[in-house]
Symmetry: C2
Subunit: 463 residues, 2 copies
């Protein structure tokens, strides 16, 4: 192992140069002008897989962007890990808020800045290098490995479900490993045991049939921006609770044990507010910020637009106004059910002065993984060796719908081994990955594959 | 007069061809990329003025877009008319909602479609052709005339106040004539005796200091879109009244005479709703739609934006959200006072969870012109001859701030002689001017200049 770790230390510059090349491919899955970049990015990954010794490397078509697959199955009797990641990234606008260009990876203050460094290309790359080092020094891996790197995570993994269903035998494994989340804090390695789900909708409000002069018509028709604002404003009460009937019905309450565990984490509400740049936090009454973000469902406006939004003034009374809203869900809420509740409620409360359309764009379920499972325990051991500290347990407010899909379709649990940080600006300008986490991540990857057989029995139970 | 009217009839095709050329210059004053077009448009007008026999034609610089001036002062003892118009137009977005290109004038169903056909290039051109016909057949005009065509009406006439102050002697006149408004309906010529004023503001709401991942942070900070929606929603009560303290304090109440006069106009609330494409009208309780639009102050959202507004989904919790709002004002409200009231109220009710900035973009005062004035009476006579029908009296919901400026700076009243129609889509896609109104407008222009001396005494009183 010492040789492997020395090798990792000696190759730091090469890792940075390769990651920069990977990041430079603008693999924005939601924007059709980047379709060629998606293909290019898939090819880049398959090239890496081939060069590090993975076998049966394939770029596999889906109804959308392709999946990159490879495997190494030379450890009979050992557990088989299905390593999942995604090579697609979020859009980069507003571009003018980036300090350095979004696809030009730049080192600053010990961080690597660029779109995808944390979510998720950087974390995919961490494992590629962990595997490379093991292959180089041992001529193989301590476990069997299948890699599935998809290109549609940021658009709801629309085609992955079908793909997994069609390749159940190919993807058969003992557990899933995903690095697409964050540690609790810098220097505080942690294991995430639960994810939130998502229901993402778009609302279209129509007033008059065409845009009108706000002088000649203002006062006689319901302005669709005003009507939309009235609808949105009504969705939270004064205690920050969501007013949609039935919304909280299926929420699994936080146990006292969990609430106590969260309280032990090094977290200051005051510092959290300061870090976010707000004078006062906001949220559902009766819960701490960590509880609100990890274990309570929310409803957020992700975008709003209507009327004139350009330079200067235009005295228009617009015909239409739009909003994108999304609910973050917790066990045991169901994405489709919540989307239907939101749609039903909006249509019920919409005034007769306007028309409303609600579109369900995509969704995913929440998930909880047993803390006692051998995969999670191997990850705890690997993190302790990789970062020199015993990790803590946490939840995560974001969504990885595929975790639920793997459980449902392949019947296996997922281990979430996140190397990001909470302030990494994933989905926002100036996304970054911390360099200590990046290199610590590669070490942890090596240790995880080494440790896993120690915790595994043929039945997937702890020794 | 018969010869002049025959001349008008014979030149219809030429008028259309020339107007098409005028319209084709995209003179959008609010967008800096059109600065060269503004200059080109000013030159086109000065060319017309020279060719029809106006004198002292000048393109005069201002702090912004230039003013085009000319005069004809060959009628000693007769009244002097200051004809005001504007050659700038509103932006054309959303461009995809135009049936034909916005700057390519197209005849369809008896209408001429293009940006500026009604507001206000088409109506400026109407007078150019009225003057041309009189000049050609009489070798001069029955009145003295000064023309002032500006290029910043759609951006609040920011530099015109200074311009008028600096050229008080040059612009000295007995009355102002403006054609920048609409008739009551197709086939119902009318005289407008009052305009609304305007206060236009922009609101910027800031939550966290940067965009955040809506999963990792959603639920713990106040979403600025939600906060903005809550602020906007609170500005109207359930009776459609504006909730800002003091907002209605200076409103001059409608007289019984006015309310009765409005009731006599051929107007159906049901048809109005149908024409606008709404199932149900909206507005201040206790007032008819005409009263709401003409004689009651309003608060409209002209634009809203924040977060992700592109194709597909982005799970962002944005840092900022913006809105453009404008209040239409009636006598005797003051624009600056209302802007301050709105700003003060918004800052007072804004929660501590967000920051708010309010910017006063521009404004203008409301106006009322005496129905009994000789200019208005000459206009009534001219409309009756030009359209073969006695016109009715109406108000107008839009704003022409310059009317107030002329009263304040030059001490003279304005006659509003509008040839547009209420459904003309000014400021919206598919703006048009009706062809009957266009040609009837040119006849009315000829008659107005002919009739004015009959109603005028040396003191500007009725004979």
């Amino acid at each position: 192992m010492e040789q492997v770790l020395n090798y990792l230390a000696q190759n730091r510059d090469r890792y940075l140069a390769e990651l920069k090349e990977f990041i430079a491919i603008p693999s924005v899955s939601s924007q059709s002008q980047h379709n060629a970049d998606m293909q290019k990015c898939a090819e880049w990954i398959s090239g890496q897989m081939n060069s590090i010794g993975m076998q049966n490397v394939q770029i596999m078509p889906t109804g959308g962007h392709p999946v990159v697959y490879s495997e190494w199955l030379g450890a009979p009797g050992k557990p088989t890990v299905l390593l999942y990641g995604h090579y697609d990234v979020q859009p980069v606008d507003p571009v003018n808020l980036w300090t350095t260009p979004p696809f030009e990876m730049t080192e600053r203050d010990g961080n690597l800045y660029a779109r995808g460094t944390a979510d998720d290309k950087g974390q995919v790359y961490i494992h590629l290098k962990g595997i490379e080092a093991l292959m180089k020094h041992n001529g193989g891996l301590p476990v069997n490995l299948k890699m599935l790197i998809e290109g549609e995570e940021e658009v709801g993994s629309a085609n992955l479900d079908k793909f997994v269903k069609a390749h159940k035998e190919l993807l058969k494994a003992d557990l899933v490993l995903i690095s697409d989340s964050s540690m609790f804090a810098k220097g505080v390695p942690s294991i995430c045991y639960s994810l939130r789900g998502l229901s993402y909708l778009e609302i279209e409000v129509t007033g008059a049939k065409s845009d009108l002069h706000s002088g000649s018509f203002g006062g006689s028709v319901h302005n669709p921006i005003q009507a939309l604002a009235e609808l949105i404003a009504s969705l939270h009460d004064k205690n920050g609770k969501i007013t949609i009937p039935g919304f909280y019905k299926d929420v699994r309450p936080l146990s006292k044990k969990e609430r106590d565990a969260f309280k032990k984490l090094p977290f200051s509400e005051k510092q959290y507010a300061k870090d976010l740049g707000v004078k006062q936090l906001y949220g559902e009454k009766g819960f701490s910020s960590l509880e609100r973000v990890w274990a309570r469902p929310t409803l957020e406006c992700n975008g709003i637009w209507g009327g004139y939004t350009g330079e200067g003034a235009k005295t228009v009374l617009p015909s239409k106004a739009f909003a994108k809203i999304s609910c973050r869900l917790v066990p045991d809420q169901k994405s489709d059910k919540i989307a239907k509740l939101v749609e039903k409620h909006l249509k019920k409360i919409a005034p007769k002065t306007i028309d409303i359309q609600v579109r369900n764009l995509h969704g995913g379920e929440a998930a909880i993984t047993p803390i006692e499972s051998p995969g999670v325990q191997a990850a705890v051991a690997a993190l302790e060796k990789g970062f020199g500290k015993k990790p803590l347990y946490q939840r995560e407010g974001g969504s990885i719908p595929i975790v639920v899909q793997f459980k449902e379709l392949l019947g296996i649990d997922t281990v979430l081994l996140g190397f990001g940080l909470p302030d990494e600006n994933a989905h926002a300008p100036n996304e970054f990955i911390n360099m200590d986490n990046f290199f610590g991540g590669i070490r942890t990857s090596v240790h995880f594959f080494n440790e896993l057989p120690n915790y595994w029995t043929t039945k997937g139970k702890k020794k």
